[in-house]
């Protein structure tokens, strides 16, 4: 164990430079975040992930955000265990009817100010599951959405760009 630990210390860091925040995401957010929220949160956001019926592909890439290459915590972005600790809900999936109530309750359990980020093609409009008897469709049909991150699934870099845009916007104008 000592050898592995020492090597991690002496070798260069794997963590890559941050990508530029997504321009279109910034534009989508521009109208939605008010000054009071910015002042209160600064450059730190607690994120609660909610799988609202995804195939689990998006979850794999959200997980990857925490690996040594992306190291999402260096930006002040922290994935937390409860909506009660969260500023941001990261929602995936076509919102199955069986998950709608749980999503609403999770949203209601999240204190204000809060943002909802819809992740992946399904979360935007239901994707390929849109026409099913079992799906509601995009996340915005159930809870208000502030930002969409496209992709099936979005890569960790896509996710990071979107989240950085959110962070810039929340903390930017102080």
């Amino acid at each position: 164990m000592r050898k592995t630990l020492l090597e991690s210390l002496t070798h260069g860091s794997l963590t890559e430079p941050a990508p530029a925040p997504d321009g279109s995401a910034l534009a989508e957010l521009a109208a939605k975040v008010d000054r009071a929220a910015q002042a209160r949160l600064g450059r730190s956001l607690a994120i609660r992930e909610v799988d609202a019926g995804s195939c689990n592909g998006c979850e794999l890439e959200i997980h990857a955000l925490s690996n040594a290459f992306y190291d999402v915590e260096r930006f002040g972005l922290r994935l937390v265990a409860s909506p009660r600790h969260a500023d941001v809900l990261l929602v995936t999936g076509p919102v199955t009817k069986n998950m709608r109530e749980a999503l609403e309750r999770t949203y209601n359990a999240t204190p204000d100010p809060k943002w909802v980020v819809a992740v992946g093609g399904c979360a935007i409009d239901g994707g390929i599951f849109r026409d099913s008897y079992a799906c509601v469709g995009g996340v915005s049909e159930t809870v208000p959405v502030d930002l969409h991150i496209k992709g099936c699934p979005p890569s960790p870099t896509d996710l990071l760009k979107g989240l950085l845009a959110l962070l810039e916007h929340v903390g930017g104008e102080r």
Binding site: M1, K3, T4, L5, S8, L14, E49, V50, D51, A52, G53, S54, C55, N56, G57, C58, E59, L60, E61, I62, H63, A64, S66, N67, A68, F69, L79, A81, S82, P83, G93, P94, T96, K97, N98, M99, R100, E101, A102, T106, I128, F129, D131, S132, Y133, A134, C135, C152, P153, S155
Partner: protein, 504 residues
């Protein structure tokens, strides 16, 4: 001797490939259940249609497979689950989706249906209604027992599901799972879908196994149409399947150790997993390799720099992974958590036909790649690790050994990858008649079954997808009994069953 020789049947369905399917009467249906109960056959799948139910069965010894069909125009069929418990969740699902009633069933509580769809029995083809009752969890009685309800929204980044624990102090007396939260109606969307649309749906049944599902779907279509993908395409398919296995096993080993609070392993395997996904991205243009496998072959070739990216990945794994194995093996505080925790009895693994590391860590020596030797595995050499202990530790070790095998397999495939076509053209139609196909592939967590019927224009008439998790999740309920609640995340992670794969 074929499976159907010992099961009285009315007639065989000639358009079903590659394994036989036969229509049986009640006597044949009961005879098939007898064979499952006595252990001569293993239940591979159990699915419905508006007026029929089908059971796929495996003879573990000869690797023979057959499907029996019981036609039920009156809407009832003899319950399988009341005699053979592994069929229970599938039987409740058939009832939910098709409204068919298993006669003699002990448990007809809804499974996928949470009374939220605005309709009952959505695949029955008729307007049906169902009496709605509050969901009753199974009782556990005794002094000092209390319940802990977890989910559907969990604390980690995982899929939604509900776990109802009954505990005596710290010790779990009973765990009951309640799923269906991610039910997307995949099988209804399949009906009438083009092959392309259907392949995309199949690929998103469980995102972590997208290659295995696309692989099985393509093989089922090819079986139905009696065509074969070119050799190069099958090698590329296996290449992606092994990469997917590597990435998932690496992620799992790290996650299991992380649930035992050993973050160092999680960080190290996380790096290797990311390297796998990046190599996959270079080679096939998508980190999870979605939508590359299609019926007839593959949609794209490996990128020119893909081979060198994969060789570099293999070299890195060969260098780093042995050290991580040593780390796992020599960390007593970690072993303290994984050894003798969450034991799956060999008898249950056999009875349920548990696939993947869950079965193989409990003595069930089955791997679809070897047993069925589907292309291109018939020409590749590899070993199938099997252990007997059945605990979390054994499930970790199966993954470790399988990573080593996958590394060797990828090397063999790269060496064998000669020039050749990528696609066999599909016929324009079947000439009018419906055709049926079935296939199994070995996903990282176990065998995936795809069964389908195509109409004359090659549209999907009916498609059933069966994840390995169907026969693993119930064993988690048994494995956690007597363990402490705090060890549940560890046990659960060592199974890493799919929610989306069983919710469909």
């Amino acid at each position: 001797m074929g499976i159907l020789d010992s099961i009285p049947h009315v007639n065989a369905v000639s358009s079903h490939r590659p394994w036989p399917r036969a229509v049986v009467t009640e006597a044949g249906w009961q005879a098939a259940i007898d064979r499952l109960v006595e252990g001569g056959l293993t239940l591979l799948g159990f699915w419905g249609e508006p007026t029929a139910v089908h059971m796929a069965m495996l003879d573990g010894g000869s690797a023979a497979i057959a499907v029996v069909t019981y036609e039920c125009p009156a809407g009832t069929f003899p319950s399988v689950a009341n005699r053979h418990p592994p069929a229970l969740r599938l039987e409740r699902t058939i009832h939910d989706l098709f409204g068919l009633v298993p006669t003699g069933a002990d448990d007809l509580r809804p499974w996928l249906d949470h009374n939220a769809w605005g309709q009952s029995h959505p695949l029955s083809g008729r307007n049906a209604s169902r009496e709605v009752r509050p969901y009753q969890f199974l009782p556990a009685e005794g002094e000092a027992l209390h319940q802990v309800a977890v989910g559907p929204v969990h604390a980690g980044i995982i899929e939604p599901g509900h776990f109802r624990f009954t505990a005596n102090g710290e010790h779990v007396v009973r765990l009951e799972q309640r799923f269906g939260y991610t039910h997307k109606g995949i099988e209804s969307l399949m009906q009438g879908a083009s092959l392309e649309a259907a392949a995309k749906l199949a690929s998103r049944t469980s995102g972590d196994s997208t290659v295995a599902y696309a692989f099985a779907f393509a093989c089922a279509v090819e079986a139905a149409l009696q065509i074969q993908a070119p050799r190069r395409a099958t090698l590329l398919r296996a290449l992606m399947a092994e990469l997917e296995r590597l990435a998932n096993h690496l992620g799992d080993i790290g996650a299991i150790c992380n649930d035992a609070s050993f973050a160092l392993m999680h960080a190290q395997t996380g790096i290797l997993r990311e390297r796998c996904l990046r190599a996959a991205d270079v080679a096939f243009g998508h980190r999870l390799m979605m939508d590359v496998i299609m019926p007839g072959g593959v949609t794209r070739d490996i990128a020119p720099d893909g081979v060198s990216a994969l060789r570099a990945l293999l070299a890195e794994l060969r260098k780093v992974f042995p050290r991580l194995i040593e780390l796992y093996d020599n960390t007593a505080s970690l072993q303290d958590r994984t050894v003798t925790t969450g034991i799956v009895k060999a008898e249950y693994a056999r009875q349920f036909g548990a696939g993947g590391y869950v079965g193989r860590a409990s003595g069930r020596d089955f791997d679809a790649r070897r047993a069925l030797a589907y292309m291109p595995y018939e020409a590749l050499s590899f070993e199938v690790p099997v252990l007997q202990a059945g605990d979390v530790n054994a499930r970790v070790w199966i993954r470790i050994r399988e990573i080593e095998q996958s590394v060797a397999l990828i090397e063999q495939i790269l060496d064998q990858l000669g020039p050749g076509g990528l696609e066999t053209a599909l016929p324009a139609g079947t000439g009018g008649a419906a055709r049926e196909g079935m296939a199994l592939t070995e996903a990282f967590r176990g065998d995936v079954l795809v069964w389908l019927r195509l109409d004359g224009e090659l549209r999907v008439e009916r498609c059933h997808l069966r994840d390995a998790s169907w026969f693993q999740w119930p064993l988690l309920e048994a494995a956690i009994e007597g363990n402490i609640i705090a060890d549940f995340p560890l046990c659960n992670k060592s199974f890493n069953c799919s929610y989306s794969g069983v919710d469909l």
